[in-house]
Amino acid sequence: MDARNTKVMNRFDVTQRLIAKLKHEEAVVGGIGNTNFDLWAAGHRPQNFYMLGSMGLAFPIALGVALAQPDRRVFALEGDGSLLMQLGALSTIATLKPKNLIMIVMDNGIYQITGAQPTPAAGVADLVAIALGSGLTNSAWAADEEDFERLIDQAMSVDEPSLIALRIDDKPGVGTTRRDPVQIRERFMHGLGVREPL
């Protein structure tokens, strides 16, 4: 489906819709800025990881979690600007074919948080076409909220990596993640069952 025919959705709304679907302690890695602000605002879960830098690494970090815990579904939420910084990661993921990795791209065509400047891809590049061309065959644009939820259900039932892209509006994130990297990492490890609290 062409991106231009899809509905413009809202990041916080679709993030809430995703979180409501998670019933099996699925991991969620939130990319830098608004992407993880809205993940935070949707309600903290012990299986959430919030990036405070390292722009573009949400998919690689989620891939690492997925390789470490192949029996757990792992979601990664990334912005379009962030994804553009690390397009090669799509090919790496296509090569490794983790069965439990689901990538979600929030595409508003702008660097919202730095002043809403357009990305170099805005209006010219199709991120789903890039994902398909990178070898991620199960990649699609979500037409609207209902279609997004359908695609999430489909992604959670297949044995291959999935990528779902959505057009979103230019609204900033609803919340602000507490910027405590050690606590974020430690609680994530507790949430994944890797460690026990002291």
Binding site: M51, L57, L67, A68, D71, V182, R185, L192, V194
Partner: protein, 230 residues
């Protein structure tokens, strides 16, 4: 998928309470292995038995054999890399050994993200790269590995010194130690075969126990380096 919860124990050193069972992890015994035949199977078993004897040098005594065995002894099974000519025998042997999941990434940052995620998920990794690749990592080190206290283990094949023929390589090499020092990161330049196992093994254990990154720089005195026209 979430229904199949393997009851297993964590790897020693990874957690503070390894006797407790942890959900969602696979044991070494249940992890699918891509063994290519009984001969290789037997070799893998023999290698693992060898690697369980601490202090015993690896296989042929080559630098790359020692690195491989040291990784294995420390339960480091995930090894993404951006290739380098000098690292070729190590990369080839990692691919041949079913203990390891090893693959190329498009950028070094990506590899750092992968092993960071894996660490948080309970699996140990290390990244292989060249000096010029390390030079792309300052932001990732300063915004991910260091502040989140992730024991990122880096092996850096050192270009740019002791016979370098590419001016750019010699320049970028000079940025490596200042970047490491500016973040107060542990790093060692390994020049001697007889010191390799000690430095690598101790540094990996220190990274894990102190939850801090470490860079192990493989100097041409150890590896032979890369010389003109190769």
């Amino acid at each position: 998928m979430a229904g199949r919860l393997a009851q297993i124990t964590c790897r020693p050193g990874h957690v503070d309470n390894p006797t407790r069972s942890v959900k969602f992890r696979q044991t070494a015994a249940t992890r699918p292995r891509n063994l290519r035949g009984t001969r290789e199977n037997a070799m893998a078993i023999a290698e693992q038995q060898t690697s369980s004897q601490a202090g015993q040098a690896a296989g042929d005594g080559s630098w790359h054999g020692i690195v491989l065995q040291t990784l294995k002894r420390n339960e480091i099974s995930l090894v993404p890399y951006v290739p380098d000519r000098v690292l070729t025998p190590l990369i080839r042997n990692l691919h041949a050994d079913p203990f390891f999941t090893t693959f190329a990434t498009a950028r070094e940052e990506e590899a750092v993200g992968i092993v960071s995620g894996a660490w948080m998920g309970g699996r140990r990794g290390a990244v292989l790269m060249q000096t010029s690749g390390f030079a792309t990592l300052a932001n990732t080190l300063a915004s991910l590995a260091v502040p989140y206290q992730i024991p990122l283990i880096m092996f850096v094949s050192e270009r740019g010194t002791l016979g370098e023929f590419n001016y750019g390589q010699s320049l970028v090499c000079r940025t490596m130690r200042p970047v490491l020092d500016s973040l107060a990161l542990e790093h060692h330049t390994i020049t001697r075969l007889d010191e390799l196992e000690f430095i690598a093994d101790r540094s990996i254990k220190q990274a894990v126990t102190t939850q801090a990154p470490v860079a192990l720089i493989l100097n041409p005195l150890l590896t032979g380096g890369k010389v003109f026209d190769k």
